[in-house]
Symmetry: C2
Amino acid sequence: MDIKNKSITSRDEDFAQWYTDVCKKAELMDYSDVKGFIIYRPYGYAIWEQIQSYLDKEFKATGHENVYMPMVINESLFKKEKDHISGFAPECLIATIGGGQTLQDRLIIRPTSECVFTEHYKHIINSYRDLPKKYNQWCSVVRWEKTTRPFLRGSEFLWQEGHTMHSTSDEAREETLRMLDIYDKMGEDLLAVPFIKGKKSEKEKFAGAVETYSIEALMHDGKALQSGTSHYFGDGFAKAFGVQYLDKDGKIKNPFQTSWGVSTRLIGSIIMVHGDDNGLVLPPYVAPIQVVIIPIQMQKEGVLDACNTIKQGLEAKGIRVKLDDSDKTPGRKFSEYEMKGVPLRIEVGPRDLVNGVVTICKRNDGFKEQVALDKIVDEANSLLVKIHKEMYDAALKNLSDNVHEAHNLKEMEEILNKGGYAKVMWCGDRACEDKVKEMFNATSRCMPFAQIPIDDKCAICGKEAKYLILFAKAY
Amino acid sequence: MDIKNKSITSRDEDFAQWYTDVCKKAELMDYSDVKGFIIYRPYGYAIWEQIQSYLDKEFKATGHENVYMPMVINESLFKKEKDHISGFAPECLIATIGGGQTLQDRLIIRPTSECVFTEHYKHIINSYRDLPKKYNQWCSVVRWEKTTRPFLRGSEFLWQEGHTMHSTSDEAREETLRMLDIYDKMGEDLLAVPFIKGKKSEKEKFAGAVETYSIEALMHDGKALQSGTSHYFGDGFAKAFGVQYLDKDGKIKNPFQTSWGVSTRLIGSIIMVHGDDNGLVLPPYVAPIQVVIIPIQMQKEGVLDACNTIKQGLEAKGIRVKLDDSDKTPGRKFSEYEMKGVPLRIEVGPRDLVNGVVTICKRNDGFKEQVALDKIVDEANSLLVKIHKEMYDAALKNLSDNVHEAHNLKEMEEILNKGGYAKVMWCGDRACEDKVKEMFNATSRCMPFAQIPIDDKCAICGKEAKYLILFAKAY
């Protein structure tokens, strides 16, 4: 690791540059020689592993099974659901040569796997006894993007995609919302990121879905980030692919389908919600390293011994800890782990040890205190709990402070230009969404579940309002 | 799940058909609509998850870090190491269209990632302080194969690939052998599959490697299966890619490299080493379900209660257990879980319950006994340990019984036609390997570490012998 210069661009000066600086200098990723295909470096990948570990448990606890589907899809299969192909065609990477020969049926590198799952379900679902089928897969997908940014929009990204089949539409809708709730809870439990949950407009929904739900987060610069989606498909794909089963009543029926996914985009969310001018700030439960121990004058007798004792004590509590006994200066180590957003730093020096204390420092607010050696493990443990709460509360306050009601275009303009969500009534027409996009470069994010009217007219066109909806500039 | 017919082809009648039957009927995989790209169904994928979980712990315990590299490689980058590209070019899948445009530099879907890792290492390795770098990645790779078989040879398969860089060749060689040992230990601990470890000949080594080591297993039909490899690259790739570092002595040097991998081929190994005419037989530690509980006359009072009590008792011991309370007949359930190779079956019926007992049955040998209800959890636990040992011992005996010394072509012919390994002395010439391939359709598998000469002449050409080597027909 080689951070030559601690200083990065300030957040408020140039947020986009700050973001790129953090991604690189915290060693989360690197660029490869293929544009848009990033390298997930160990520290970035370890964050993804924490997210995987949390979600995989939740998925299995709710009866889902992991599978792995082919990464390529025959172009002819991909074309079976018309809305789906028209949505994805422009961004497909296509293989045309295999083993030196031109392929008869061109192969699409999966941008998403509805088609392969549905085709497989056709083969294995025959009777009501075969339902529900609740599969998930961890993999990468490829979408050929013109402009790419690490974690936020990439030509290849890591994700999970759940695909389920149910005998009734009610059960499928319930599944769609259950998975959205699991994502929402992950935000609160693991990422310390509060989300707004809601339903997407027709314009913004997934290609081929009947309904799309999303979790939306608010970044430090006031932009929204769609952080996960859950789709209800009805029986559209099932009909297009011919998935049928014999029900108890002796009738042949089509099952009802869902899909849902979150991706490494969540890492972008963590960076932009919590980061500061010294770099990344990681919430404790998702942090690959929760506590770093840095010896001061480590050649002095007793310093490294004390470090190791503390390390063992923390590990015994299940805390992820790193003792950095490399030959770099303590000052350089301080800035490295600040840049990497390690939640707690423990400094162990000979002078403190004489007094039987060490120094502990919180990354999220810089709070520093001296703690008795025999209390340090308990103190670190409770500080981690405290940090998570503080970070979540701060993010929640920022979110609440930046959702503003608007009743007309002028009010919307003010809010959207300042940053944050404009909460408005909307007639339901796509023309109004297009107008907001054109005027303010903002999009409808979602219709929150609590549909409490704040006006009776559409804030954009003045016609009768149907829905409460949030607009924002977004990544 | 729908096993309509318990009967599968007998192993000794048509081993290839038996294998395919087991893969399909045990619901390990299914075919997709793209030839050679299989679907890893939940039960098959769960076996892979057990392997992942075991290895990932071992990799991390030995200081390796997980990363994720792009799934595509610029063709120009792939061509940097000449031996490597000539080995892989014939089986590449190549993408030529992205976002509707013809790509300037064609993209190879990764068949292996030496090139991308080495290119990345070039960017992040500058000083001796940056060494060693020990990365691993879990992913899928694509190799366009003409003839494919589930798990054994596929156009896409799941694997892990470790790629490491070291400051000295000694350290890199040590790493190469350490990882081979970890694979070998996994065979003994997890798969109950004994391996022969050794070094590959020049002909059989990996494209671009200086030395390749492998673990070789013996299948029921007498064929060998290469089950994992570990490569020492010297500084060949590092030189081709320009990876350099400043050493302590102030000199610029190239680091030394390794790579090593195992794949879902291991699932094929488990099937073909342990399976029998009733289907799969899974060693307990890799089995997704270790104990299945089947209620007999489950409508009778107390039966399901007893099943649930046993289930909770087993789960409390950390045993993976399934209670099948579906409305299928017990007989049908018996054959389903036999097909799936679940190590232990517990039958809980009203008549047994009157006597305070249940029946437990071992999948590997059909042994059946009645056990008192309050002893069943302990008994299941110790039977699982016993089954693993029995399965490993049986596989080891089969391996030992089928390695035979040969001193000339006639003896080799006898052994190779019967099945198993022919252990011979060899002059070291590729011409002799080619001859054995041509005459007996067998290949050199590896040169075992214990090079104890059994002759002074090459068994093939009669010239002076240099190495002890094993030949076998192989998958």
